[in-house]
Symmetry: C2
Subunit: 747 residues, 2 copies
């Protein structure tokens, strides 16, 4: 959000690889900046698309090379009184910067930007080189992401159950020459604070210039409508200025569906002698107060001796209002972060908003998103749970790693803290479980807590997810080891927040055809492209994940076509997710958070827990989840997926309500829908319901009739409020179906 009035010049880059730090590349080829060295090499050498078939393997060599970028810069025409700066948003991952062959900057860490004054080179033509080291390697298992256990590069690049091993390197953020006036502003930061009633905001603004100056600094704060809310003139005689503004009855920033996403504009202008602005910085400012609070009844537990602690708080309270958080786990939208820009984020974030989400968990295995991600989350009311780049690893306790993490985390916090969407800082993913073996005492987590407290003390901090009370998983519709379905797994759980849970489903047929060679398409094999794209062997517990054909077979028999396989797989995913989201909502107020694993994906999966295929192609589950996340809906709780002819179908009816004002009552009609008949099972007239409260209704029961299909629907219809209607699909099994019905198709 920072903009300046300075001139920017884009640069032309070349890149090449070499086998040791002190070598030079034999050949250079054109480089796209920002981007990745692998993509430049692929383009120059005519490689096939990295995202098709098993092509990621073509790139594995590249992570072990040194790479050198170079660019020539003409500083012979710098305007008088201007200073040229080399400005770089980030290089992935360890690198040196050389000017005319001399190293002037060395850095480990991709999330810390840097800039270099080129004042001493004015009038000359110079060459800048960026020497990129091979991907970090802690010496741990090099075939596993544990090799990233001593660096701050996201571990996902070494491969995950939905990500191939492909480790990007290179300049991944905007990099350019900027000419600035000899005296200019270089920092504008602020801290907001709301009083107990959110009726008074305090805005503390800090600015710095590159040198002490007598030029006046004009500060302006404009309200969301553009009116001037505050104006003042400060002195930068010491090189910095701090100023605190109080705003009565500020317009507040609210999460999606809770109110407007009001933002003010803060403008700092260094006024030159002629009265014009010679240096300007701007930021958006949102006022909101975010806390983690205990749920209703939480202090009553535990109730017996010996007495432990009460559950930690995980209910997000925004501007004094408890919010039920509906959302998802965000993963990198591309394998190569260098090619991500605001248009990569836009469709994904808009779909999240339309799905009634209000919270995205930015999972610690992936990158810290670019500024435009947070800008758009601010705009769309999507709160962000931001993890540091640590996941499923036991991180080093050595000084070198802690120093890198210290630098990187400070950069991450300083960039994120000024966004009203930033709701929670979190150390990383699943660090207190057996596969990570980190604990509350790990110095990396104590360091992160320290830095978050120092730099952003009023934003909640969690050491990891899950902590006490919370839970991750399960990740299958039906656990083949014990026959448990999501209906019982979640129906019997009692957690404060479900911050990860998955239901896998295949991608659609047309999509599969774009990256799986035709001869591999059907039937899917646990090898080749299906395996490379995560349909088989992706996750340890279930060997056939994420396609899970044995689960499909269990309910519907073995599919005879790819279309049939996809249809049933997607049905299970959609119905499973519907149940979990709604069940989590039914468990309010003990539960206050439902975030599925995962929202998106960085490349095409054949099957995955994702709701949206790469780059932004929604699966049927996306639409089902969006239905289940409406603020107000009729909902049914059931105990299982498959029902038999003659069995008594039972469902418990609910009105789920997350709306922040009381809602009017209505009339629910439960219908069982079969191909040849619709049975009205029950009517329930329900009263007005207060804000953010659910209402448990009656149970409906009906003996299931004979039917020729293998599914039936439960429809919940509100005659007065049709926008609350819901529909669920279940598997149907004939009473004596040994020689007919779907299972017969396999024989």
């Amino acid at each position: 959000m920072t903009s300046t009035s300075a001139d920017r010049t884009e640069l032309e880059w070349l890149v090449g690889y070499h086998d040791s730090r002190d070598n030079k590349p034999d050949t250079f080829f054109p480089a796209t900046v920002p981007g990745a060295v692998q993509l430049d090499w692929a383009k120059a050498t005519g490689q096939p698309e990295y995202w098709k078939a098993e092509n990621p393997k073509l790139f594995e060599w590249a992570e072990n090379s040194y790479w050198t970028y170079k660019t020539n810069i003409d500083l012979s025409r710098v305007a008088n009184g201007s200073i040229p700066y080399f400005v770089c948003g980030g290089v992935d991952y360890q690198f040196e910067v050389k000017i005319e062959g001399t190293t002037v900057h060395s850095q480990e860490g991709m999330f810390t930007p840097f800039e270099l004054s080129l004042e001493n080179h004015i009038g000359k033509r110079i060459q800048i080189e960026i020497l990129v080291y091979p991907a970090p390697d802690s010496g741990d298992d090099s075939t596993h992401h544990s090799v990233a256990n001593a660096c701050s590069k996201p571990p996902v690049s070494w491969g995950w159950d939905w990500h191939p091993r492909l480790v990007p390197l290179g300049i991944w953020k905007d990099t350019f020459i900027e000419e600035r006036p000899s005296v200019h502003l270089f920092n504008l930061s602020f801290e907001t604070r709301l009083d107990e009633n959110c009726q008074r905001a305090t805005l503390t603004i800090n600015t710095e210039s590159n040198q002490p100056t007598k030029l006046p600094l004009n500060l302006t704060l404009r309200s969301p409508s553009g009116a001037v809310a505050h104006q003042s003139t400060l002195s930068l005689a010491s090189g910095s200025a701090s100023h605190t503004v109080t705003i009565e009855n500020p317009e507040l920033w609210w999460p999606n569906e809770h109110g407007p996403q009001s933002r003010y504009e803060l403008i700092a202008e260094l006024q030159s002698g002629d009265g014009t602005a010679q240096s300007t910085l701007k930021k958006r400012v949102g006022f909101r107060r975010i806390r983690l609070v205990m749920h209703e009844g939480a202090w009553d537990e535990p109730s017996t001796f010996p007495k432990g602690r009460s559950n930690p708080p995980i209910t997000l309270e925004v501007n004094g209002r408890s919010i039920f958080c509906k959302g998802t786990n965000w993963v990198p939208p591309e394998i190569f972060p260098g090619i991500i820009d605001q248009d990569t984020y836009r469709p994904l974030l808009e779909m999240a908003q339309k799905a009634h989400f209000n919270l995205l968990r930015n999972w610690g295995g992936g990158i810290i998103n670019k500024e435009s991600f947070f800008d758009q989350c601010d705009e769309l009311g999507l709160m962000v749970w931001q993890e540091f780049p640590i996941a499923c690893n036991r991180m080093s306790e050595e000084d070198h790693y802690l120093e890198t993490l210290n630098q990187e985390s400070k950069s991450i916090i300083e960039a994120g803290r000024q966004h009203p969407c930033l709701a929670i800082w979190c150390g990383g993913n699943e660090l207190f479980n057996a596969w990570s073996m980190m604990t509350d005492q790990h110095p990396a987590l104590r360091l992160l807590n320290r830095n978050c407290y120092d730099l952003d003390p009023r934003t909640p901090f969690l050491p990891t997810s899950p902590v006490m009370g919370m839970a991750h998983g399960h990740y299958v519709f039906r656990d083949q080891s014990n026959g448990e379905e999501v209906y019982s797994t979640f129906g019997n759980a009692n957690n404060t927040a479900y911050t990860e849970y998955g239901c896998p489903g295949p991608s659609d047929v047309e999509y599969l055809k774009t990256f799986i060679p035709e001869d591999e398409l059907f039937p899917p094999q646990a090898s080749g492209s299906w395996k490379a794209h995560h349909a088989f062997g992706a996750w340890g517990v279930e060997g056939d994940s994420w396609l899970c054909p044995s689960v499909i077979d269990h309910y519907f028999g073995k599919p005879q076509t790819l279309e049939e396989l996809v249809k049933y797989g997607q049905l299970l995913q959609a119905q499973g997710y519907k149940f979990i989201y709604e069940e989590a909502r039914r468990q309010k107020p003990v539960c206050s958070m439902a975030l599925n694993w995962c929202y998106n994906e960085p490349w095409p999966s054949a099957a995955n827990n994702s709701l949206i295929n790469w780059p932004h192609r929604p699966k049927p589950a996306y639409h089902a989840v969006a239905e289940s996340c409406r603020p107000v809906l009729l909902s049914a709780s059931v105990s299982k997926f498959q029902w038999s002819e003659g069995e008594t179908f039972v469902c418990n009816l609910w009105l789920l309500n997350d709306h922040h004002e009381a809602i009017e009552g209505g009339q629910l009609e439960a219908q069982l829908v079969f191909p040849d008949q619709t049975i009205q099972v029950l009517q329930w007239t329900y009263p007005e319901i207060e804000a953010n409260k659910n209402l448990a209704g009656p149970s409906a029961r009906w003996e299931l009739p004979k039917c020729e299909q293998n599914t039936f629907d439960l429809k919940l219809v509100d005659t007065r409020n049709p926008e609350r209607n819901s529909v669920y699909t279940f598997a149907y099994k004939k009473a004596e179906a040994k020689d007919s019905g779907p299972r017969a198709m396999n024989q």
Copy 2:
């Protein structure tokens, strides 16, 4: 541990009270420094002992007054080239220091020392005044310790279930004039680090002088035997010097019964022109590495989805060895901390060592102990779990409190971190329970974590006790609301650490007579002195705590004499504690810590959970606990306390072993001892047992014979290793005892 070669002059003080900040006392009376204004007033006005009967009430007015100390200082004979300093270890709680009527220092917080150069007053006679403010008052309930929820003064002074309301004020630490050479050392601090195998120590030493100097600084490190382990000469040309020393195969500091408490001596000498030391500072240095580690099997849980986190680690690992922590909760040994000195601590700490304790939890409701406490814990091998002064309150989140806490916690950490005994920093007591309503997100706890990490990063930090896995309570032998005894309460529990549990018992008769007026002695009434000394109404859950006469009645009928009451009450306390300590040990390795509530007391209690009466008079329970904490002992697990004639007595036999080397096997003989017969119930030959492992043995069963007494003993005798013998006492009930036996005594 810091000593200097400078001259110290003690001061004569007067003190008086006044009703507003700007008044002066009408009269002054002599003051003892260190001490407390209340004690000075009591002495001057001939008040009765504060610790008798209901006398604390006499002192309540004093906490609402201002108090002014004054002293005259003659600086006319300061040695040439010397600088006099006014040095004060601490003033309780908020105060101003005036020199000749002008305020030169203001402070809130009793744990931060200060010193003032009097260089400008050399040659004069001056008056120094210390104006002490009334006790802090947050505006919360003034009859409850919640009034301390915005200050760093220990809340215990406002009254607890074993502490009267009596809020000390005044100069509570050593305060004197010190003449120092014009150039002198004023800081010597260090940081120790051991490598993974504890075979190499790194000692980083920091020293500062009051001004840059060309005088050489000689650093000497002497080994525990006195040999020179390192010597070097450094420059203080910049006013400070830092030096790192590596020591191969250092002699390690170990907890009690795990090895020697080796300490090195570090000497910093500023060498004057004539080669003598003109300024010397000395510190003791202990090398040990302390970590909190997971217990065996901890990573296997939880095992099902949705999956939470594993329990946090609470097993103390010292120098690579897991230690089962046996210990107790330490509370202030006096109501007035100003009168505490090393001789107050000495007998208590020696008894802790003799009881085989290795860990003291310095409970957050009380004071931070003086330096001599930590020195003696270092010497005796007693590890310290040190809490900050927060307990059972919901602390303020306001800036003013956080700033005070920041200052006070830094002072506390800087003083404590250089002691090898300092094993755990902890935010405070029971903050995550309903009566405190603080959470992991509270800024005070994040601040403490930050300061501990910044100043002492290699010592574990806990936000509070209990956290997940740990537990506090119960505090009664038998819960009258549900009939549960300690035998089932703890036998059915499964916690990682029992960091508080109590069994109340009365004090002995001779002791009771010293503070309860004769006419109140028997029968005890729930009023007057018995109540003031915590026999009744002390704790909410049990109205008759801590004397608990209804529990005594339940087993033995109503006592007819004070002697009988005390005998049975003390028996229950001793037997209850024996069971809990041994049961916690049986639950190893899941459990690794057993700390009863509480060890000592600040004034005489009529009944209390304490093991030792004020000031250092052990109760029978102390000796029972010491037996149960022997490194190796025979132990019996039973399900209840009272057994009936003809009933089959059942006990499970164990060999409890915390020893750090393998122990030889033995032969256990279980005997039931009645007045007229000893029954040999079972013999068990057990093998050699590896270090720090228990061995579960057989169960013994025996039908109980007729007996004329109301108790019987279970003796466990090891014929080869009599030092492992144990004995337990149980209540006995006759089969048809309606008209005879102990209960008949009440009729």
